[in-house]
């Protein structure tokens, strides 16, 4: 049996012994699984549990497998689970290239710079490398945020309503582009949203969650 890339085996997020959300699912490389549900059911906490970044007061049980490795008790920074929020959260003390370089693993300085430039060119932002991130439009910021995440060579992607702050036109193009990138990179992805359009656009599995 070939194992799926990201496996959640009976993952439960709890708040003081009370179950917020419970999920078991397998996500293959290149597949985008959507979790839908009303706000407050702990969708974001679930992503936090997978990334190893549960907020204070929450605990989780169950097992998380990533490419055959049990990452349930690993520190967040070793898990290689890329995280995208609805805000781009670019570091304002760094310029555009600096943000992408922040995600990149250590290596030869020249190569890193070339790679950064290549990534920016790929998304049509090649002249933006030295720009302060605050001068970018919302769609541009979203693209840089994904480039930064991909630069870190993640093994899975966790998307927490990543398009909900974009206007409707930017939203569609950004969404299509993000999904293509994920499929091209062959990464398992988990998308949390309350927008039906987002969910349908994945053309993949949708899990509806209700309050426990």
């Amino acid at each position: 049996m070939t194992q799926a890339a990201l496996v959640l085996d009976n993952l439960v997020v709890q708040q003081q012994k009370q179950t917020l959300i419970r999920l078991s699912t397998c996500i293959n490389a290149g597949q985008i699984v959507t979790i839908m549900g009303p706000s407050g059911v702990g969708k974001s906490s679930l992503l936090g549990a997978i990334a190893g970044l549960l907020p204070a007061g929450l605990t989780c049980e169950g097992t998380i497998w990533l490419n055959g490795q049990n990452i349930t008790h690993m520190p967040a920074y070793q898990r290689r689970t890329g995280l995208l929020y609805q805000d781009a959260l670019l570091f304002e003390h760094l310029d555009v290239a600096g943000n992408i370089a922040f995600g990149m693993p250590r290596g030869n300085r020249g190569q890193r710079r070339e790679l950064t430039q290549a990534m920016l060119e790929q998304v049509g932002l090649s002249d933006m490398a030295a720009r302060p991130v605050t001068t970018l439009s919302g769609g541009q910021q979203a693209r840089v945020a994904l480039l930064r995440t991909l630069a870190a060579k993640p093994a899975a992607l966790l998307l927490d309503e990543p398009f909900s702050k974009l206007d409707s036109r930017t939203r569609q193009t950004t969404r299509d582009w993000v999904f293509t990138q994920i499929q091209e990179a062959g990464l398992p992805a988990l998308l949390v949203t309350h927008d039906k359009q987002d969910a349908l656009a994945t053309g993949d599995k949708i899990i509806e969650v209700t309050p426990c």
Binding site: G57, A76, Y77, F91, G103, P132
Partner: protein, 572 residues
């Protein structure tokens, strides 16, 4: 994990700095007070020192003066703060007041005392102004508020110093993210129920603010009850306040006076505790009275009175600060200037020359002390806060520190610093810099923490999440994400810490055994003896130094860790 170890040791060191010197210092005065002082060959426990203290003439007056001045000043400062907030809450004027009063916070106590002394002096600028406008007071007035036996001048100076602190702390509470919206809504509700805005603020918003303001207020009250610089420069001398008397007894040539001074320092602890106790008692009574007032249905109670008090406070403060600055500036360049002329007959830079020569060493010492104590404090506080945020993510309990912070601020320095000096002289004889830097650190650390904690705890946790999920280790997150993002608040905290260090009088004087002269010790020494013109120069220097720190703190974040700046200059 090296980083983990750093965090743990920083936490231990943090508590050590806050608690150990105070505990050791208190021990170091209690033992001599009961007759145990090996340095003088006293090893028999006895109550001789206590009896000698009780026999001192005017002791009740000293104690009462300390209690009266500190409590009055704190009550005045608190009432003025309430009036200002009630009148200007959610109005643009509040910001103007905030910006106007913030710099006053950075003026050292010694400089404040000197400035107020200039304002009140019988031949001061105010008296000259009255003389030139009204034809009366052609000779300097016989009576003056300066050195008055009731301590009115002390109360005035303490209140001027306390008001900005209490007000800024209150504004800090009002801007807390989880309170801001709720309080604004409750304020709106109270107004919609027919309460005037001033009353609505006092009835609906202020009680919440006060509960968080209590500890800072107790700290300023405790400080005021044992402050040295202000009563020394403005207060009555026969008898002075207890704290000033303690200073004189400790510095007496007759070493046996030290036992008496130690007993008096213990009494000072009781006096400060008494002031705090009285405050807490008065608070209870006020609460009973206040609760009845809130629910009696009256809606416009005193709104006009409050408005009047607020405007009065704002104008008096503005006027006082202006006269204060004008006086200092004009005296610092005054040549021959007979009373009652409003302006100096001639202008000279000679006092500045004299000061420049005399102050080269003290200035270097001042900068060195701040330059050593401030970075240590900032690093300790940063690592401590980082430990707190790590513990929170790991769901571990973390001992909350906010109350511990106030311990060195509440226990009077005039009491514990002497005991501390006695211990360090015994353990590290001959050392000057180490004990002085440590004694500065005791005071710098709490303020740096208070200034930095808000910004640190408010940082959007998702930035840290993103950085960790990109593979950055906790150390990298701290160094490459948190520090650059918090660069501006870190610089402000450092500037505040340096300002606190610059202003320290007693810790510098005592811990160094008088061997390290700083700007502040020289200013006090000159003010209590020498030329008024030179004193003005010293006081101005005392204000310029912290100002330079804050300007730097404002400037650096614009240049460093700011891609916009680089982009801008690159584009040129």
């Amino acid at each position: 994990m090296v980083f983990e170890l750093c965090i743990r040791s920083a936490r231990a060191l943090f508590y050590l700095v806050l608690l150990l010197p105070v505990c050791v210092g208190v021990m170091g005065i209690v033992l001599p007070a009961v007759g145990y002082f090996p340095a003088l060959g006293e090893t028999e426990f006895s109550l001789t020192a206590v009896h000698r203290l009780l026999a001192v003439e005017g002791l009740p007056k000293m104690v009462l003066l300390a209690l009266f001045t500190s409590i009055s000043a704190t009550v005045i400062a608190l009432l003025c703060t309430i009036a200002l907030l009630a009148q200007f809450y959610q109005r643009p004027a509040l910001q103007i007041i905030q910006h106007g009063l913030s710099p006053v916070l950075a003026i050292p106590h010694a400089a404040t005392a000197i400035g107020i002394g200039f304002v009140l002096a019988p031949t001061g600028w105010v008296a000259r102004l009255i003389a030139s406008v009204t034809e009366s007071w052609q000779l300097p007035p016989q009576s003056s508020l300066l050195y008055d036996s009731q301590g009115v001048a002390i109360i005035l100076a303490l209140a001027v110093k306390e008001l900005p602190f209490i007000l800024l702390m209150a504004l800090g509470v009002l801007s807390q993210p989880h309170l801001k919206a709720r309080l604004a809504a409750q304020f709106a509700v109270a107004q919609s129920l027919g309460y005037q805005r001033q009353t609505a603020f006092i009835y609906a918003v202020f009680p919440v603010v006060y509960s968080q303001l209590k500890l800072p207020i107790i700290a300023v009250l405790a400080y005021a009850s044992a402050s040295v610089e202000i009563p020394l420069l403005l207060g009555p001398q026969n008898p002075p306040t207890l704290a000033v008397a303690i200073l004189q007894w400790f510095n007496h040539i007759d070493l046996s006076m030290r036992l008496l001074a130690s007993a008096a320092a213990c009494l000072q602890l009781l006096v400060t505790a008494g002031a705090v106790g009285l405050w807490l008692l008065a608070e209870r009574v006020a609460k009973l009275f206040f609760t009845g007032l809130v629910v009696n249905g009256a809606r416009g109670d005193g709104a006009r009175l409050i408005a009047f008090c607020a405007w009065l406070t704002a104008s008096v403060m503005a006027l006082m600060i202006s006269v204060f600055l004008v006086s200092l500036l004009s005296w610092s360049v005054a040549g021959y200037w007979p009373y009652p002329q409003l302006l100096p007959g001639s202008v000279t830079v000679q006092h500045w020359h004299t000061a420049a020569q005399a102050l080269a060493d003290p200035l270097a010492n001042t900068v060195w002390l701040a330059g050593l104590a401030t970075p240590i404090a900032v690093v300790l506080v940063l690592l401590f806060l980082e430990g707190e945020s790590v513990a929170q993510r790991r769901q571990r309990r973390y001992f909350t520190v906010d109350q511990v912070l106030f311990i060195p601020l509440i226990v009077p320095g005039v009491a514990f610093l002497y005991g501390l000096v006695w211990c360090t002289q015994w353990l590290l004889p001959g050392h000057v810099w180490l004990p002085t830097v440590v004694s500065h650190l005791i005071y710098v650390l709490p303020y740096v923490f208070l200034s930095l904690a808000v910004a640190y705890r408010r940082l959007d946790i998702r930035f840290i999440n993103v950085a960790s999920s990109l593979g950055a280790s906790p150390w990298q997150v701290f160094l490459q994400v948190k520090l650059p993002m918090l660069f501006a608040p870190v610089m402000v905290a450092a500037a505040l810490g340096a300002a606190i260090s610059f202003g320290q009088y007693l810790p510098t004087l005592l811990a160094s055994g008088g061997r390290l002269a700083t700007l502040t010790t020289e200013a006090v020494a000159t003010a209590s003896g020498g030329s008024r013109r030179l004193t003005a120069v010293y006081a101005i220097m005392q204000m310029l130094l912290p100002l330079a720190g804050f300007v730097l703190a404002w400037l650096l974040p614009r240049v460093l860790f700011n891609p916009a700046q680089r982009h801008h200059t690159g584009a040129k």
